[in-house]
Amino acid sequence: MTHWMVLKIAARNVFLHRMRTLVVGSILTFGAFLAVLGHSFVNGISGGMESSTTQSITGDIQIYSESAKDKLSVFGNMDGSPTDVGHVDSFETIENALMKNPQIVSVVPMGTSFAQVNPGNILDHFLEKLRKSYKTANFDKNDVDSQKRRIRFLAQEIQKNLEGKFEEIGILSPADAAQAKINLEKVVHDSFWSDFDANAEDKIEFLANKIAPLIFDDNMIFFSYVGTDPQLFKEKFPQFEIVKGEMIPPGTRGFLFHDFFYENMVKHRIARRLDQIKKKMKDDKLTLAGSKELQDQIKANVEQSAEIYLQLGPAETDSVSQKLNKLLGTQEKDFRVVLKNYLSMNDQNFQERYDFFYKEIAPYVILHRVQIGDVLPLSAFTKAGTSTAVNIKVYGTFRFKSFENSPLAGNFSVMDLVSLRELYGFMTDERREQNKEIEAEMGLDDVGRDSIEDLFASSAATKEVKPKTKSKAVDLKFQKRVMGATYTQEELSKGVFLHAAVFLKDPSNMDRVIKEINEMSKNDKLGIQAVSWQDAAGFIGQMTFMMKAILNIFIGISLLLAGLMIMNSLLMAAMNRKQEIGTMRAIGAHAQFIYRLFFYETLFLSVVFGGIGVALGALLVVILGKIGIPASGDVATFFFSGPKLYLHLNLSLIFVVMAVMVVIAILATQYPAWKAMKISPLQAMQKRE
């Protein structure tokens, strides 16, 4: 029955000592609230990052060669370098073996790597267009003349641009600079254009080799890509969707840019900067006046205004010039000056001028250095250090729904696996056939090498290659050896791959399936190893783990501090109740009674106030689960796996948090209760003043 008395005293003490109750109660409420909200947030982000990663590139599990030099990291290393994971010989063999496991629903072969392309500058672009026009039977003469006028105009602009600067550039030697001046003088002269039609090839060649290089800008595009079975990739990564152009047709070699990359790296620089400024003003609430970063972007636009005026033909220049003067309220005759003035934007006129760009200027410029439908000359270095190249058609751009604005969701493009093999240095059936053709043209024996790398890089090459017959020089002009458009599914399945995404029926079985795959590989000598999506995601996967750990540490420290504050508060309360406790002891209450009193008081506090905190936390989680937490930027979008993070309430979390709060409170009580137990009955005898 003393339990009942203790409970009664404990409960009533809670209400009597209001300040102590308020302090301790607030700490418990806040602690419980933070624990529920924090854990839900951590779980949400963890889930978000998992979705972002598994639904964009990794799948649930990744497999790769067990003799890989590096650990697989599909996003590359932190320094941007690719990882060397070797290769696995036959996808078909591995797929058949893996599909025996009832937990596995599909396997998608892939290989991630890096490549580069130089799509050429605007003059290259105009010349290519002109070249194609001349190759067309019954080409439209008016259209061709218009193109020639534009190219001539461009040459004049280049000449104007470089006036007085040849020697300053430093890229050209004095002799080359002198020659460049002469060349430019030649192409702006009427005599160059008067017999153009009759000597189109040579003239175009001259312009391409002598004039185009004088546009000094960084044209090379570096990018990461995944070579895969595009159809299977689209099917198995449901977030995948085409944004521009079309999907690579089945069995067809092709390339898709990641839309984020296309808009941010391939797009016209001035347009790109304007888009970025607009985004930062909207998302981050920056202003041009207040942000040095944005001011630098504006400055760069002004300095690189040639990117616009070099692309406009004479008629377009007049039209835009008029409209610009109207917009600015000026009458400047020099287009370059009025363009620079227009590009010097501020907060007040930015939106208007941004809209003007896309309405009046963008239609006349090449907005993307690579157009949908272009054939790209991709090149890469094999692991042996040799250079290899493929020409491949760009079919369009894609993104992953929900995190379309996040570069972290894989700023990589997609191409077919067969083309990847070529870029990686493996011999494909088609390359083998093409080599035979070249050898036949040149009268060479087949040197019998199966690997391009072996062909060019092997130091053990002993056979001297001599033509059998005197052959005329192979006319490689205009013979871009665009690889054949198609491949067979058999070729794709039977060939090598670098790693593969494995999809499970139930992702919670991941650890078990990884173990099963590794055991199977060991027993059947498959030569593969399986890792979790988190391991395969490399530093991004580690980010997930680290973020969870950091947040848990933060919650842990908060709860520890809460415990210390509770202990301090209870200790003060105990010391203030010396006479009461002494009286109880004097009357005949044992020390254990006093301990129970404090225990029940704290238990009552922790259950009631912890419960309030848990309820408030759960309520907020439910609300946020409905309205979502908006992602504040690209990185947040990746973590949230979309523009918003929707939290989910885990009911078991409520019980866990309650239990933790009770434990913390009870632990915090121990020292104050011990001190209270030590209060002697003598304290009861002390007289109050």
């Binding site: 006479q579 009461e580 009674f593 009955p681």
Partner: protein, 224 residues
């Protein structure tokens, strides 16, 4: 009840490293049913004697026998049990548990004893509350009572376990003279009817003269 013995009891304290002798060789015997006052000026050792007899403190030397047991040989738990079953306390500052009402305060020591059924316990509690004239205030909290009423509750609480001895340390010090006299009258009445031994300290002469025996203390010694 067995007599209370103090044989050559000394009690020393340390105040900032200085040893103070509160009691210097006390020899005392208190028999059952006595209504005895321990008198003396402040610092004479009155409270110290009550503490030793009340088993809330132990002697530095000498023997203290309460309820037939030498308190110096008992453990903390045994002393607590001895207090619970043998002694009732009435404090100068009443020392009621503020969150409990009159009934609960009086019931408290009975609950600790845990010898009776709930009904028996309640009946006994109400008897003693009635005895001190506070039946109509049974559900009140201490904060709702006057000083005299609180002290009457304390008396009821001290007596409810029917202890052999009731120790009261200056029980009327915080009361006006009229109320104080009421309390002393109540204690005398209970002493007469229940034969409970009362031992209380005071330096109020009017109270002192109502005791049947006065033990005068001066400077830690009993004055003959």
């Amino acid at each position: 009840m067995q007599p209370i013995h103090l044989e050559n009891v000394q009690k020393n304290y340390f105040l900032d490293k200085v040893q103070v002798s509160a009691l210097k060789g006390i020899n005392l015997r208190i028999d059952a049913g006595e209504f005895t006052v321990i008198a003396g000026p402040s610092g004479s050792g009155k409270t110290t004697i009550l503490n030793l007899i009340g088993c809330v403190d132990t002697a530095s030397s000498g023997k203290v026998v309460v309820g037939g047991k030498e308190t110096g040989a008992l453990t903390e738990k045994q002393l607590t049990d001895l207090r619970l079953h043998t002694i009732g306390f009435i404090f100068q500052s009443f020392n009621l548990i503020p969150v409990l009402n009159v009934v609960d305060n009086v019931e408290f020591p009975l609950l600790l004893q845990n010898k009776q059924s709930p009904k028996e316990r309640r009946d006994q509690v109400m008897r003693f509350i009635d005895r001190v004239g506070l039946t109509q205030y049974a559900q009140h909290r201490p904060s709702e009572l006057s000083g005299g009423q609180r002290q009457r509750v304390a008396i009821a609480r001290a007596l409810v376990t029917k202890p052999q001895i009731v120790l009261a340390d200056e029980p009327t010090a915080n009361l006006d003279s009229v109320t104080g006299q009421t309390i002393i009258d109540l204690m005398k009445e209970i002493n007469a009817t229940e034969k409970t031994t009362f031992l209380f300290s005071t330096h109020d002469h009017s109270i002192m003269n109502q005791a049947r025996r006065i033990i005068r203390l001066h400077d830690g010694r009993i004055q003959e």
